[in-house]
Amino acid sequence: MKKYIKNLFVFVCICTVITLLLATTNYFTVPIIEQNQIASTNKSLKEVMPKGENFEKIDTSNLTLPSSISEAYKETDGKGYVVKMVTSGYGNNMIIMCGVDTEGIVTGAVCLSSNETLSKEKTYGKNFISKNAQNIDEVDTIAGATKTTKAYKNAVKDALKAVKELSGGER
């Protein structure tokens, strides 16, 4: 019994030391990571809506949007909307951002982060440019990365539905 308690004590001590090291690293890195994320979001907003100048975040809590939608932004000059989605492909947490103009046409789609193994999601978004709700099914999935590209396509479909809801909700 004494041996088990000693083993447990050693294990708990090692876990405590590692936790302290992690907490210290977290303390120093979190502000930098947050700044990077803000810069990355601003860059991605411009990338998915090249004609957009300034964007403001919309409160979506009172709207009924597809479950994959996590954030929505409105171009302040009324050029369209940008929607951020979290979906699952082969792995979890594939974050996609999609821009849609006032006529319901996709202006761009990028993958912000993912846990996919083949990295097809990094370039797949360009296939959706100029597509709308009627012709989005013309974009083919990629063999060998079917789950990833299918999830990506569904996310863009969700973005089109969400923008329809967002623009309808404002009228």
Binding site: N7, I18, N36, S119
Partner: protein, 229 residues
């Protein structure tokens, strides 16, 4: 057991006991991250840092860690250092973080790191364990960089993302796919086998000597090898 010099411990991992090309460990990241030179180099350096830190930590605690609790203890230590490296890369090198993706987390289960903890760090001094971590990490980084250079230059006509125009018409795209990676890996293993004249120390390092069950194993061959080593 004969005491090795510090220099031989450091150099051991680079060719003689190269973790990827001789001991054939860490195959998953070796194939997955070698499509680009910068990704492969980044993965190698990240693994080197984790190997160095975990080897020192495990060697320091080798007399405290209970024998029957050593694997959970090693995993906690390795996973802790992997998370520290991950957070640091995410903060300081976001583009590398995006390139490596899920493979950065998978360093936790990289068998080179757990293998060196079990085979070397829990039996040797802190200095030797630190040098072993650096040597093995350098061997891993060099192997990955070499593999990725061949795959990217001949498969994608570029080097670290910089296009090589005169290679554009001669690129072999097959090399950027998984079967091409296996082919390059196999050729490099054959080359190293020729360079070391087939005297790679697999038997003494990874058979009975390092096996935790060697003393209780009844196989005559194992007992003989254990005595010889």
């Amino acid at each position: 057991m004969k005491q090795k010099s510090s220099l031989s411990v450091l150099l051991n991992g680079i060719i003689k006991e190269n973790p990827v090309l001789v001991l054939v460990l860490g195959t998953c990241p070796s194939l997955a991250t070698t499509t680009t030179v910068d990704g492969a180099f980044g993965m190698g350096i990240a693994a080197l840092v984790v190997l160095f830190c975990s080897n020192i930590f495990i060697s320091l605690l080798r007399k405290i860690i209970p024998e029957n609790m050593r694997i959970p203890c090693y995993i906690v230590i390795i996973a802790g250092f992997v998370t520290i490296v991950k957070m640091s890369v995410q903060a300081l090198l976001p583009s590398l973080y995006e390139t490596l993706g899920v493979y950065l987390d998978l360093i936790t289960v990289n068998c080179i790191i757990l293998g060196r903890a079990e085979m070397f760090a829990n039996k040797n001094t802190v200095i030797h364990s630190a040098l072993d971590g650096i040597g093995m990490g350098l061997g891993f980084t060099l192997s990955l960089t070499l593999m990725s250079t061949i795959r990217e230059v001949f498969g994608a006509a570029s080097f670290a993302g910089i296009a090589i125009p005169f290679m554009e018409n001669y690129k072999i795209e097959f090399l950027t796919k998984a079967p091409g990676g296996l082919l390059v890996y196999g050729i490099l293993i054959a080359v190293i086998y020729c360079v070391t004249h087939g005297k790679a120390p697999i038997k003494t390092s990874f058979s009975c000597e390092g096996c935790p069950h060697a003393s209780s194993c009844g196989k005559a061959g194992c007992q003989k090898e254990g005595v010889n080593s």
